[in-house]
Symmetry: C2
Subunit: 360 residues, 2 copies
């Protein structure tokens, strides 16, 4: 089969990690008889430098036309990069938000996995890690505070800023369905996180999620307040299977969850909508401080490519092949600097990519 992939290298370490993911995809293609065509698309700082804006109409159109999108990372150093002198709507991150909204990618899936080989890197005590954990944060990605109306104005000479948080039942239903569908393929437990003791949007959220749950009698649904969830992620992350939450809470909790695993250089993410077209990117940032130094860990991006094979192209076997390849490389003791520990062999970005390809 032929697949058209829009590739957005982006900023910082983006280009080098995406390069390795493409090589891995090509190796999978050779083995399983697929051809992946890549179209490079500009977004973020890289786009600002060439076009003046973080996402052009043409870039959005090219992404839309593709079968799926692979993204490296977006953004630079906020204190030193000239991108951050620009007004907010013209900064790198605005490109990412426009892409999510423009492609209606409302479901962000971020697995939080503790890799057996990397237990040492987990910040939590061994008693809490136990046999490890493996859960998914399902974050609504195109609603809430991120896309509500906002303004800043003077009221009687006093600067006042407004943001608004809006959700309607359809937006909640569709992301809830995603969460329950994924739970059905996992351990059949959904924990819906909100702030229903304060917010109207959270109360509607809780109610609609309960309604959707009726279609999934096998799935156990629980509710949790967001402040409690922030605690539980540290206290006992093993308790979770699928965490379902709105956009801003999901931003905070999914980052906390990644850090709790200690494997942030290893965590993939997928942003999906109603079609097969998805956006796949590592959970970590653009790490401008080590860009171009062959130090970045490409595994999260390669695992994102595996998620693309699974979710957008339904190539389960191929996705598994990549994931197993990575496990083997870790077992053999190869590590990039971010996950390095005593007695292991340190390798660079390119070498890590090569070792993974060898396992395929």
């Amino acid at each position: 089969m032929n697949y058209n992939i829009a590739v957005i290298p982006g900023d910082g370490i983006g280009p080098e990690i995406v390069e390795e993911a493409k090589k891995v995809l090509d190796a999978v293609g050779r083995k399983y008889n697929h051809v992946f065509h890549y179209t490079e698309v500009l977004m973020g700082g890289a786009s600002i430098d060439k076009t003046g804006v973080p996402l052009t109409e043409e870039a959005l159109a090219a992404a839309k036309k593709s079968d799926s999108i692979l993204l490296g990372a977006v953004g630079g150093n906020v204190s030193t990069s000239p991108w951050y002198i620009l007004p907010p709507a013209l900064r790198p991150e605005a490109g990412l938000l426009a892409l999510r909204k423009g492609l209606n990618l409302f479901a962000n899936i971020r697995p939080a996995i503790l890799f057996d080989e990397l237990k040492g890197a987990c910040p939590l005590k061994d008693e809490i890690i136990g046999n490890g954990f493996d859960f998914v944060v399902m974050r609504e990605l195109t609603g809430g505070l991120y896309f509500g109306e906002r303004k800043t104005e003077e009221v009687d000479g006093i600067r006042t800023a407004y943001d608004s948080l809006v959700y309607n039942e359809n937006e909640i239903k569709r992301i809830a369905r995603w969460a329950f569908d994924i739970a059905m393929k996992r351990n059949k437990r959904v924990c819906s996180v909100d702030k229903a003791n304060v917010l109207d949007s959270s109360r509607l959220w809780r109610q609609v999620v309960k309604e959707v749950a009726k279609d999934y009698p096998e799935v156990e649904l629980t509710d949790m307040l967001v402040d409690n969830c922030a605690m539980q992620l540290v206290k006992d992350p093993k308790q979770f299977d699928v965490i379902l939450t709105e956009n801003m809470f999901g931003d905070i909790l999914s980052d906390e969850a990644s850090m709790v695993t200690g494997s942030i250089g290893m965590l993939a993410s997928a942003s999906l909508g109603d079609t097969k077209l998805g956006l796949y990117e590592p959970s970590h940032g653009s790490a401008p401080d080590i860009a171009g130094e062959n130090k970045a860990n490409p595994i999260a991006t390669i695992l994102s490519a595996a998620m693309m094979l699974r979710y957008s192209f339904e190539l389960e076997e191929e996705a598994n092949a990549i994931e197993n390849g990575i496990k083997n490389v870790l077992k053999k003791g190869y590590r990039t600097v971010d996950i390095m520990s005593e007695g292991k062999t340190m390798v660079g970005t390119k070498e890590m990519g090569q070792f993974i390809i060898k396992e395929l």
Copy 2:
């Protein structure tokens, strides 16, 4: 001196932990020649049961008239307590929000301290704990999403819910001043947390905090995005001195911070405004499952009483006496069940209170 303290025992374990705090205050009074007068005030579930509402006008007036307020805990079991069948505005937590707003308690101070004796209870690995940590989360408490307009309505037959997040420069200035003032008495570092890459309110927040910083040239100010902060609290809590943030982010981050210390039964909090009148309460909840069993840890409440002596009554020596008393009791090995570990002596709520009094 005479001090009038409004005492709100509240729900769950509230009454028993407040009882011990009062006894400790009385012991301090005997030693240092103060008289503390207590007026009991109803709030939360206890108020609903007697008056039908979570905070009456009279209760608010009594609190307002006092020199300071000591609160146990508010709320019950959401799935089993009849309080949660009531509409949101009549539930226990609404009483707490009304009290905060009614008394203009806009500054919530929550110290996150790892007690040396309780390192074992910290969920983080020893390498991360290092020599321990001691920082403060300063949360804005009467603005933002908590008190913005909200509504739920049908738009073309589709249920839609709205919340709004508003901040004006004055609200930001006054909480920022608190944060810088406290930093001046500590390690002179303020980390202001926002989501300035998305929210207008966060951009105004960042700007106003920078303006206020000019009056505190000795204090180092840094900015951090809320998602990053949720990670950094797990990765390296030692980096923080004073974290300054808005209401909803503060709710999430301060709870995460308490859990990261592993000592949530030990953490006090103060809510203050422009006057000396403050509301002091433990950071933990009402734990209805163990209410009345003499199991609850009263230390957080007793430390809250110490904060009251320090901030509302300027009785520094007296506050130190309580804090040192608690340290000594811990050194001697006495523990309530929540902080129990091998080789220590387990005691109940009342006994813990008595041991602390003995140290005074």
